[in-house]
């Protein structure tokens, strides 16, 4: 692995909710940690997000959802990635995700789910470790 290559992360806001405090904090923390961060902005469709992941040749994508629509939107994004034969992108989810939904999301291929209160450093560390492995 070329260690000088910056990890490229897409921070994405699928769905219609406008709660972007968390996404922006994470985007900035990842950037401050030396990663290349592409923040999609709000109200993105699954198609737009997957398109961005491809365009940006991302190592990881962080999906931030606080609207309760995660069980509709995350499977759609994971499916689209699979259709495009993208299997080396680390997928993480953050937001108000009830505990019961976490195992299901992981079964779909989500590497980790971060709920409110997750320390920023944990997310940075996870992204770094996971994206380097891929």
């Amino acid at each position: 692995m070329n260690t000088s290559k910056k990890i490229r992360v897409v921070v994405a806001k699928p769905g219609l909710d406008g709660h972007d405090r968390g996404a922006k904090i994470i985007a900035r923390a990842l950037r401050d940690a030396g990663m290349e961060v592409i923040y999609t902005g709000l109200h993105q469709t699954p198609e737009q997000i997957v398109e961005t992941v491809i365009q940006e040749d991302a190592d990881a994508v962080g999906l931030s959802i606080l609207s309760g629509a995660h069980m509709t939107l995350v499977p759609r994004i994971v499916d689209l990635l699979r259709e495009q034969e993208i299997d080396d992108v680390l997928v993480t989810v953050g937001g108000t995700i009830p505990a019961d939904d976490i195992p299901e999301l992981k079964k779909l291929g989500v590497a980790e789910v971060f709920t409110p209160g997750a320390p920023t450093q944990d997310i940075v560390d996870f992204m770094r470790a996971g994206a380097s492995r891929n």
Partner: protein, 552 residues
């Protein structure tokens, strides 16, 4: 002489205290507010405002101590829990539940598609229908939402902004069909569009036409709905997006002053509409900072309306406000702790003189609240109102060295922001230049850093983390509700008069293009069962939509 009387014991002095304090080591902590403001170890008489008139008395200019002479001895605040999920049927049931449990006003949460102007069967609505609020697509849903509730008696608050004028049209027509005319309707529609671009981020149109639509609605409701609060100028979402208390105060008031300016420019007399403006603030966990914020807000608003806009009617000077406890202060870890947080925040709202209050439920960092969680939240307000005794006297913290000093400081910080915003060309310009957005992003990042480095302790999150109970029961929204709502909408589409719908949309577009007040054509569109998405998309054909350039 008289060496042996008690009077000879040296009187404690401030200097003496300072020496004694300096000799005592402080514990290892930062003595700053949640917003990062340093706090002195002691406040004294010297910290009180120079002019006692700036504190004044309740119910009189500058209203620092409260907007009414009798405050809670006359009437308690309105206990207004925000609710909405699923279709209009489910939310109507929750509304009736809340009214039966002693709630005194209604507050409607709309789902994301409704907030963004998308119909429930729009591709972008997939998975979002009825999730974070109630789905309202047509006037028919609005009728169902308030079925069996006397809209002439209960006041209703509606949290909707970009499409507020359309929802108001639905509400007026739904009430009309239930036999309640517009002039009898009491309540509030949020309609605070500037804070959408700043913080809440649910928009439909570019800023300028959105401001015009708001102006049309204010003008129309000023004339037709004397009991209606035309805009609820909201700091809540600004704060939730990560702002400090001073930013919440400054940006919210500046938004409000901008609406006043626009309405005056349209030719309205300030005293005709200013009494119908109301505010909506957050109650965060830093108790005194919040109380100071509300007191400063009243004083600034009164001064600006009287001095800058020349309002003569004292009702125009009054800042009446709703408070909601801070959703962002709730933790997913050890969720029962949130009951305590919410109680303290609610108490700050009450000691700050709020007119109405929503207390969050302890499970809201996980999902929408269950009925039980909502009941505890409402009971929290009832305990504050009836058991704690804080309502026995007005503004019990008035005159406190600390609270008065914080109030003055908060006021000063707000004026500092006003100057910066004016330098940028006013609030609309500042928003277009992302100024408040950037300030908020910086503040929120800074606070997160303090939490991550454990400079700020969050119980159950970065300290005292053992004993988490992952067993909190949560409200599940049945995905079948989305299909039910899509079915409702399609049934309305099938039975309405398609030609009337077309005609109503043509008229909406014509007025949007050629000028004139949009409310009458929107009311016609509501009567024709035209859907929200159809109206918004028609307006977007004329005005375009909005894309943010995010700053982080």
């Amino acid at each position: 002489m008289a060496a042996h009387t008690t009077a000879s014991i040296p009187q404690p002095t401030l200097e003496g205290w300072e020496e004694a304090y300096a000799a005592t080591p402080e514990r290892d902590a930062e003595f700053i507010t949640l917003s990062g403001e340093p706090i002195h170890p002691l406040y004294t008489e010297a910290d009180l405002p120079q002019d006692p008139a700036s504190i004044g008395v309740p119910g009189a200019y500058p209203y620092t101590r409260g907007v009414y002479p009798s405050m809670y001895r006359g009437r308690l605040w309105t206990m207004r829990q925000f609710a909405g999920f699923g279709t209009a049927d489910e939310t109507n049931e929750r509304f009736r539940y809340l009214l039966e449990h002693g709630q005194t006003g209604l507050s409607t949460a709309f789902d994301m598609p409704s907030l963004m102007g998308h119909d429930s069967d729009h591709p972008l609505s997939l998975g979002e229908v009825g999730r974070e609020g109630v789905a309202v697509d047509t006037v028919d849903d609005m009728q169902t939402l308030f079925q069996g509730i006397d809209l002439g008696k209960v006041t209703v608050s509606m949290t909707i902004n970009a499409p507020a004028a359309i929802m108001l049209a639905y509400y007026v027509v739904a009430a009309e069909r239930a036999g309640v005319p517009a002039e009898k309707l009491g309540g509030t529609i949020q309609a605070d569009i500037l804070k959408e671009y700043i913080a809440q981020k649910e928009w439909c149109f570019p800023i300028d036409p959105a401001m015009r639509l708001l102006g049309d609605m204010i003008e129309w409701s000023t004339e037709q709905m004397p009991r209606w609060n035309s805009v609820s100028i909201s700091g809540y979402h600004i704060r939730e997006a990560g702002a400090t208390a001073a930013q919440e105060l400054a940006f919210t008031l500046k938004d409000g002053l901008t609406y006043v300016e626009q309405a005056v420019e349209r030719g309205l007399d300030v005293d005709d509409f200013a009494p119908r403006l109301s505010f909506f603030f957050n109650a965060q966990i830093d108790f005194f900072e919040e109380i100071a914020k509300y007191r400063a807000a009243r004083r600034i608003w009164a001064r600006e309306l009287r001095e800058t806009f020349g309002a003569k009617d004292p009702k125009s000077w009054l800042m009446r406000f709703h408070t909601q406890t801070a959703g962002v202060s709730l933790t997913a870890q050890q969720p029962l702790n949130n009951i305590v947080r919410t109680a303290i925040e609610a108490l700050a709202g009450v000691l700050g003189g709020t007119q109405s209050l929503h207390t969050n439920s302890y499970d809201e960092a996980l999902a929408l609240p269950t009925e039980e969680a909502v009941r505890i939240a409402l009971r929290t307000q009832q305990i504050i109102a009836h058991e704690t005794g804080v309502t026995n006297t007005i503004d019990p913290l008035g005159g406190s060295y600390f609270v008065e000093a914080l109030t003055d400081k908060m006021e000063q910080q707000a004026y500092d922001y006003f100057s910066k915003i004016d330098e940028l060309g006013g609030m609309v310009e500042a928003v277009k230049q992302n100024y408040p957005q950037r300030e908020i992003a910086d503040a929120s990042y800074e606070l997160q850093g303090r939490i991550d480095h454990e400079q700020r302790i969050v119980v159950g999150v970065n300290r005292y983390t053992e004993g988490d109970d992952a067993q909190t029961p949560i409200l599940k929204i049945d995905p079948a509700l989305e299909r039910k709502q899509v079915g409702n909408l399609q049934a309305v589409r099938a039975r309405r008069d398609a030609a009337a719908v077309e005609a109503s949309l043509t008229e909406v577009k014509r007025v949007a293009q050629q000028g004139g007040n949009l409310m009458p054509p929107l009311l016609e569109a509501a009567r024709a069962h035209t859907s929200e998405g159809e109206i918004v998309h028609a307006l977007q054909q004329v005005w375009g939509d909005y894309t943010e350039t995010p700053v982080f």
